[in-house]
């Protein structure tokens, strides 16, 4: 059985096991997308008619579900559907770039202003869309509701589409913010005395910085250990601020890990995995571990920590999946 997908005045036939996103792009329809893994929500569409498969709404916010929105990359139609792109303004928020600052040689802090304070948990991620429909996800490094701005740490890639756009953006330029999503955030449970381990590579520090400050603000009393893994010394950022924070809070330990570093320079010289594994606390049943950044690191570390005895429900992971653009048929 093959399903028909109606879009505008056109009607397309989906191949077996083909997603709505792949079917539309194969037929020359441009739909914003990035991860193609159900993470970034940039491929959000509206079902005008037809049944939405469960998988296409799995991690969507209830507000989106209620309005018959779904993720086109996760939608393998079980019958004929009629779909449309969501109207901007319905659920998306317009933000303007209010500050930009380099935190090291390739990480840029970007602050965004929203019309009303943006509600999300520090550590969740949002997806930015520009006027060309280019979409990328970034983690929220602060508490936007309290600060009245959204703070992101953006690693600038040579030839990176969104990197280049943000690097060239002027203060006052406008972007669309979609989200928030993700389960990497601090939840104070009961005693707030469980050991908290935060480990990230590169800009994986962004969500962890948000989570760390939320935990401190909410009076977490258990030991907190933050690991930041980078390749070279110059890749560290917010190092000073984190050293200061650790000096102010007796329960906070900060371990920068520099892969190509040398011993005796105040950081751990070597792989971040090694540093984390040697510091796994004895309270394996209650300890929480947050992992963010490069997917290879996040997935490998998660497995190691789980095999070492940490509970699967206490390991929270945000792999920064790179975008997987599909070519639009001519």
């Amino acid at each position: 059985m093959s399903a028909h997908i109606g879009y505008g005045n056109a009607q397309f036939e989906a191949r077996s096991d083909e997603s709505v996103l792949d079917c539309l792009t194969r037929n020359g329809v441009s739909v914003p997308h990035a991860c193609r893994s159900g993470v970034c929500q940039s491929c959000l569409m509206h079902a005008d008619e037809g049944q939405i498969p469960e998988a296409a709404q799995k991690d969507l916010q209830p507000a989106y579900k209620k309005q018959d929105m779904f993720l086109a990359c996760q939608c393998r139609p079980e019958g004929d559907m009629r779909v449309s792109l969501p109207e901007h303004g319905l659920l998306d928020i317009h933000a303007i770039v209010s500050a930009k600052e380099m935190l090291n040689h390739n990480v840029m802090r970007v602050r965004l202003l929203t019309p009303t304070p943006y509600e999300c948990e520090p550590g969740q991620y949002i997806t930015l869309l520009n006027a060309d429909g280019l979409a990328r996800s970034y983690s929220v490094a602060n508490n936007p509701d309290a600060d009245h701005f959204i703070e992101l740490h953006v690693r600038l890639f040579k030839d990176g589409a969104m990197s280049a756009f943000l690097a060239g953006a002027n203060l006052g330029d406008s972007l669309i913010v979609r989200g928030p999503a993700g389960k990497c955030f601090y939840v104070a449970e009961g005693q707030r005395d469980y050991p908290l381990m935060l480990a990230g590579t590169g800009t994986g520090l962004a969500p962890l910085y948000g989570i760390l400050r939320a935990a401190l603000a909410q009076g977490h009393t258990g030991p907190i250990h933050l690991f930041h893994g980078v390749i070279s010394e110059g890749d560290l950022y917010l190092d000073r601020a984190l050293q200061d924070l650790a000096a102010q809070h007796s329960n906070l330990l900060y371990t920068p890990c520099v892969l190509n570093g040398t011993d005796g320079k105040g950081y751990f010289a070597g792989e971040i995995e090694t540093a984390v594994m040697t510091a796994v606390p004895a309270e394996k049943d209650s300890a929480r571990l947050f992992l963010c950044g490069a997917p290879e690191f996040v997935n490998g570390m998660r497995r190691k920590a789980f095999l070492a005895g940490l509970s699967s429900k206490h390991i929270f992971a945000d792999p920064f999946l790179p975008a997987k653009p599909v070519a639009i048929a001519a």
Partner: protein, 125 residues
């Protein structure tokens, strides 16, 4: 008066038992060279709910597995060489998990029998 006989699922401890067993069982699976390669590239976030569904089924609990789901869900693994020896290994690891949790041998045998009943569907024959 009739004393209702507790079902296998209830004797094992129901959904709580599944939640306790899943980490122990999945750790054994990932550490076992015979079956670990089949799980190498799968996301843990997606695996844990699947393992819970499997354990619920094997524990005799409420589930909506169908033979067709079993075939579809494992076809790609059969193509990669999944065979009887791997099913045996999984049933063995399941038994070890329950043993660790103090489940009596008679109940372990019942669980093994349920797991074994889907063998042909899993191996798509």
């Amino acid at each position: 008066m009739n004393v209702p006989v507790k079902s296998l699922f209830d004797r094992l401890g129901g959904a709580n038992a599944v939640n306790t067993a899943v980490d122990i069982f999945y750790r054994k699976v990932l550490s076992d060279d015979r079956v670990a390669p089949f799980f190498d590239n799968v996301d843990m976030d997606r695996q844990i709910p699947k393992q819970k569904a499997f354990l619920t089924m094997a524990f005799g609990g409420p589930n909506n597995y169908t033979g067709l789901d079993m075939r579809k869900g494992h076809k790609h693994l059969v193509a990669r060489g999944l065979n009887d020896s791997h099913v045996d290994a999984i049933i063995e690891l399941l038994g070890k998990t329950l043993k660790e949790l103090g489940v009596p041998d008679s109940d372990i045998a019942e669980v093994a029998a349920i797991a074994n009943s889907v063998r042909n569907d899993v191996l798509d024959r």
